[in-house]
């Protein structure tokens, strides 16, 4: 099976004197897999996500995502890689408040140089699938939390990424909205989307992920497939 993520001996230290915030860690995630990363605060979940997203570089080891060794890429190449191969969903949505919903969704496509009409068509498709087409011209500030997260998911998917990274995607949502996003992620996984989901919410991990890893103090404490977790 093709590996979308391959970490080999990856460690990250923020201060050379301290123990690593993460690792050393070996991890691989196969295409189509939905991996939930759980663990207490400070366990290294966000660090792992940042390394996989190319937002940060490891102190040791190699990070390969979608077949590319990203820890050796320049900032420019990393940006290109990210916009073409990775979609990100954040806890606090991180939508740009001065852009409309449609413009927010189209933004990553436009950064890759996709023609405006093509980007708009793709954004339209996603808005329809995610049920937010009626908000296309609205600004994020006017939407509910669940709707904003749907917009964020649409934005993450606009370039058809090989990998979707979600950082506490329901962490800022009420129960109903959280349920809504959970179903959305399940649907995406069923559609074959590779997902890495960082969450405190074990129920979310159980519902969405085919595999869960549990980090404690930067180390892998548990690596279990769905059946084993249950």
């Amino acid at each position: 099976m093709t590996q979308v993520i391959q970490l080999d001996g990856v460690a990250k230290r923020y201060d050379s004197a301290d123990a690593p915030a993460l690792g050393p860690l070996d991890l691989s995630v196969a295409q189509g897999e939905a991996l939930a990363v759980t663990g207490p605060s400070g366990s290294g979940k966000s660090t792992l996500l940042n390394l996989v997203a190319g937002l940060d570089k490891p102190t040791e080891g190699a990070v390969t995502v979608a077949g590319r060794r990203i820890d050796q890429l320049s900032e420019h190449a990393l940006a290109r890689f990210r916009r073409e191969r990775i979609g990100m969903v954040f806890q606090f949505f991180n939508l740009l408040d001065d852009l409309t919903v449609a413009d927010n969704i189209q933004l990553p496509a436009q950064l890759t140089g996709t023609a405006r009409r093509k980007a708009a068509t793709r954004a339209g498709e996603l808005m329809e699938v995610l049920g937010i087409q009626k908000h296309a011209r609205a600004y994020p500030g006017r939407l509910s939390g669940g709707e904003r997260q749907r917009v964020a998911v649409a934005r993450a998917l606009v370039n058809r990424p090989a990998l979707l990274l979600a950082d506490e995607p329901t962490g800022a949502l009420d129960t109903a909205s959280g349920q809504d996003v959970r179903e959305l992620l399940v649907d995406l996984h069923r559609g074959g989307q590779t997902i890495v989901l960082v969450t405190h919410d074990l129920a979310l991990a159980e519902a969405c992920a085919s595999r869960t890893i549990h980090l404690v103090d930067g180390h892998l404490a548990l690596d279990a497939h769905a059946e084993a977790v249950r």
Binding site: R83, D98, Q110
Partner: protein, 794 residues
């Protein structure tokens, strides 16, 4: 509760202020630097404006200038008698007698200097005419001379040696110092013994006395004082006097053209400083709303918040103000030295009250600029303050994002283009900074072009390659000797000189000139006249209106002549040369400021007795002027004439100085504008660092991030250019004629119409350049900021 209150006393406030200043180091440094440059500009601008205010009067008062400079015949009035004149009723101070004579020095190459009035003084100081020694030292022994600083140049400086005359055995004089006399009592000074030794039959020794009177403010008072002096010494002992009123008029007229120029730059500098300081500080406080919200949440009162944030702005601004005063004084020194040279005045220094007023006003502006947003922050409800600080205000600029999104440009660029609309006040301040910078650049470019055009238009007769003189060399460096009314012209036959020129191989063209003092009906006293023979177009003046003389009976005059006589082109004037009076028709208004604008230029055929003294010659291409002059001299010298090569005319000192000042002042103003932009973009980038992090997380490359930040100021740059260029153009169109009028002349199109379309387009781009340069640093910072860090930033 009481413990809490005590805890929020000055100690807690102090910590908040210190941590606020230290936490935002970039912003703190930018505030300090922007305020420093703005204050420095204001100090320079204020100093220059002060300097323009009666420079002669200030220098005259400082030096205890002489109200009357009198020359006495030492053979008729003894030293004791002259000293006694200092006790006359109404005389408040006197100095002298000093031996005085006139010398005609020559330079190392044999070139003639103007005749110098040389006065023997053993000391530059005194109760009257306390000289300002600008450089070097005072003459202490024979062979040493101190010259007026107005002669200072690349060659004439301490160490320069000249001969006292063109005689082979004339003694050398070494310049040991440069001095300024506001009263213009002499051109040069030496020891009294040296002056007596240099006296000759042509330049006998006279005794110079300098007087200050209790009443010398009017011409009548001067005349009365002069009569007292004449009566106090034996008959005919008083050879002549010079009034300080004449010196003042000449000095004021010389300084007048620079005043509108300096005021224009001064006003630009001060207005821009206020805008930059205001926007920098208010922007800094306005971006701290979230922190203000947190302080309120933990118990700070609104008043404490206001105090904390005003203090937080005052610390870097105070450092900037202090440094700005120092920098302003340092920068003002060379500019004031230039101004001194232009005004010929003694030491101009930064007025003490400028150093007090500018910082005081700057502090006031900083205080108000900080107070307004701090009061607003203090009044905000805590929750609101935190919310305002965290999320951008919705609604502002969203229409701009919609509109920009439709432009056929990369998304990072269109996103940046729309950004300024989210902060209209900050954007307006940035726009004003760019516009003022562009105004300064446009005005300076126009001004330097105009000044260069003025330089080119001056002394058109000096454009000729070779000058042939039909007579003894004049006393003004080989120029034509002016003939007094009724005096016979030189004895050399001009026809023979003309024939020699025509016969000389290599002659391309030539024309003859004759200068004399004439009288003109309606003008008291004499008027300088220049008569031309042959095709004088190569030596013609720039015409403001009308045309250059084309034949006998025509006359060309400067603006001041027309104003003085109340005439216009087409009118006639009666001109008398010797006993010959002719009616000449005014055919042109020349751009000619020589002789206070009182001169006439006519064809030599208008007066039968006029004969050319000087021939201005153009040589054929490929002919060496030096060789040509040498060969022509071999023919002309035996006739009693002389030939000399003209060196390329150099621009007047004043033009060079004004050009240098314009460049320096423009650089300062453009720097301040750039810093204003830098500050605004730093604030903007800090405020949007989270959004930029999101964009980067979505795949915006560093290059795209830079283009986003640069695009956010590009529109402001374009608009600033579009506003600044026409305003600068209009300012030039307003100031130049005022400068011309101050100098007593209208200006020709060649001086006024100096802008070319491509140049204006380039100047328009200067607005963009200022904006982009100001934004480059924060753009790089935004591109380098780690995405993960930016995403964590609130």
């Amino acid at each position: 509760m009481s413990r809490l209150t005590i805890g929020f006393g000055s100690g807690a406030l102090g910590r908040v202020v210190r941590s606020g200043v230290g936490r935002r180091r970039v912003q703190t440094v930018v505030i300090a630097v922007a305020v420093m440059m703005a204050v420095a500009s204001a100090v320079v601008a204020g100093s220059l404006m002060v300097a323009t205010n009666a420079p002669f009067d200030h220098a005259f008062a400082k030096q205890h200038g002489a109200h009357i400079t009198a020359q006495f015949d030492p053979a008729k009035a003894s030293t004791a008698q002259l000293k006694d004149t200092g006790q006359l009723d109404g005389v408040t101070a006197s100095a002298g007698p000093f031996p005085s004579t006139t010398i005609h020095p020559t330079g190392p190459g044999g070139g003639h200097f103007p005749a110098l009035t040389l006065v023997g003084r053993s000391d530059p100081h005194g109760g009257v005419d306390d000289l300002d020694l600008k450089s070097g030292r005072w003459a202490a022994k024979p062979g040493e001379i101190v010259v007026s600083a107005s002669f200072a140049g690349p060659d004439i400086k301490p160490g320069f040696t000249m001969q006292t005359s063109d005689a082979v055995d004339s003694p050398p004089l070494t310049v040991v110092g440069l001095a300024v006399s506001a009263s213009k009592t002499a051109d040069a000074w030496a020891t009294p013994g040296q002056v007596r030794a240099l006296a000759s039959e042509d330049g006998p020794v006279t005794s110079q006395m300098l007087y200050r009177f209790d009443s010398a403010g009017t011409k009548e008072q001067i005349t009365g004082n002069r009569k007292k002096l004449a009566a106090a010494v034996p008959a005919e002992a008083l050879l002549g006097t010079e009034s300080w009123l004449d010196t003042k008029r000449a000095a004021d007229q010389g300084a007048a053209p620079t005043i509108p120029f300096l005021i224009a730059f001064g006003v630009l500098g001060i207005v821009m400083s206020v805008i930059i300081v205001g926007s920098v500080v208010s922007g800094a406080v306005g971006t701290s709303l979230r922190r203000i919200g947190i302080l309120k949440a933990i118990g700070f009162t609104p008043r404490e918040v206001v105090r904390a944030y005003v203090a937080q702005a005052l610390i870097p601004a105070g450092v900037g103000i202090a440094l700005g005063v120092v920098l302003g004084n340092l920068l003002a020194v060379p500019l004031l030295e230039d101004t001194e040279q232009v005004y010929g005045s003694a030491s101009l220094t930064v007025a003490w009250w400028v150093d007090v007023l500018v910082p005081a006003v700057a502090l006031l502006v900083v205080g108000i600029a900080a107070l307004v947003p701090a009061l607003r922050a203090g009044r905000l409800r805590t929750v609101e303050a935190i919310a305002v600080g965290r999320a951008p205000r919705t609604g502002r600029g969203q229409w701009a994002h919609r509109a920009a999104g439709r432009l056929p440009l990369p998304r990072s660029v269109t996103y940046g283009l729309a950004s300024p609309f989210a902060h209209p006040v900050r954007t307006t301040a940035m726009l004003l900074a760019v516009a003022f910078g562009t105004v300064a650049a446009t005005f300076a470019v126009g001004l330097t072009s105009s000044l260069n055009a003025v330089g080119k238009a001056q002394d058109p007769e000096d454009r000729a390659a070779v000058t042939a003189i039909s007579g003894v060399p004049g006393d003004e460096g080989g120029g034509p000797r002016r003939v007094e009314v009724g005096q016979s012209p030189p004895s050399t036959d001009p026809a023979k000189v003309r024939a020699a020129i025509e016969a000389q191989p290599g002659t391309a063209s030539y024309y003859g000139m004759f200068q004399a003092d004439v009288t003109v009906a309606g003008i008291s006293g004499s008027v300088e006249a220049t008569f031309y023979q042959g095709d004088s177009r190569p030596g013609s003046y720039e015409m403001i209106s009308g045309h250059w003389i084309t034949g006998a009976g025509q006359v060309v005059v400067p603006t001041a002549f027309l104003e003085r006589t109340g005439t216009k082109i087409g009118d006639t004037v009666r001109v008398t040369l010797g006993k010959d009076t002719q009616t000449l028709r005014i055919v042109g208004e020349a751009f000619d400021g020589s002789n206070d604008g009182l001169s006439v230029r006519a064809d030599i055929a208008s007066f039968a007795a006029a004969q050319p003294q000087v021939f201005q010659i153009e040589v054929e291409p490929g002919v060496s002027p030096a060789e040509y002059a040498q060969k022509l001299a071999a023919v002309v010298k035996p006739l009693g004439g002389d030939v000399m090569v003209n060196s390329p005319s150099e621009q007047e000192n004043m033009i060079l100085i004004l050009n240098a000042m314009a460049v320096l002042l423009t650089l300062m103003l453009v720097s301040v504008a750039g810093l204003g932009v830098l500050n605004s973009v730093v604030l903007d980038t800090r405020e949007r660092v989270h959004d930029l992090g999101v964009c980067k997380a979505l795949g915006m490359s560093p290059r795209q991030t830079v283009s986003l930040v640069l695009a956010s100021v590009a529109g402001i740059g374009v608009l600033g250019g579009l506003v600044g260029v026409p305003v600068g153009f209009a300012l030039h169109g307003f100031v130049l004629p005022v400068m011309g009028h101050a100098a007593g002349t209208d200006l020709p199109p060649s001086v006024l119409e100096v802008y070319e379309t491509p140049q204006l387009v380039l100047l328009g781009l200067a607005g963009i350049a200022i904006a982009l340069l100001g934004a480059l640093l924060p753009a790089g910072w935004a591109a380098r900021t780690r995405t993960a860090t930016a995403l964590r930033t609130e």
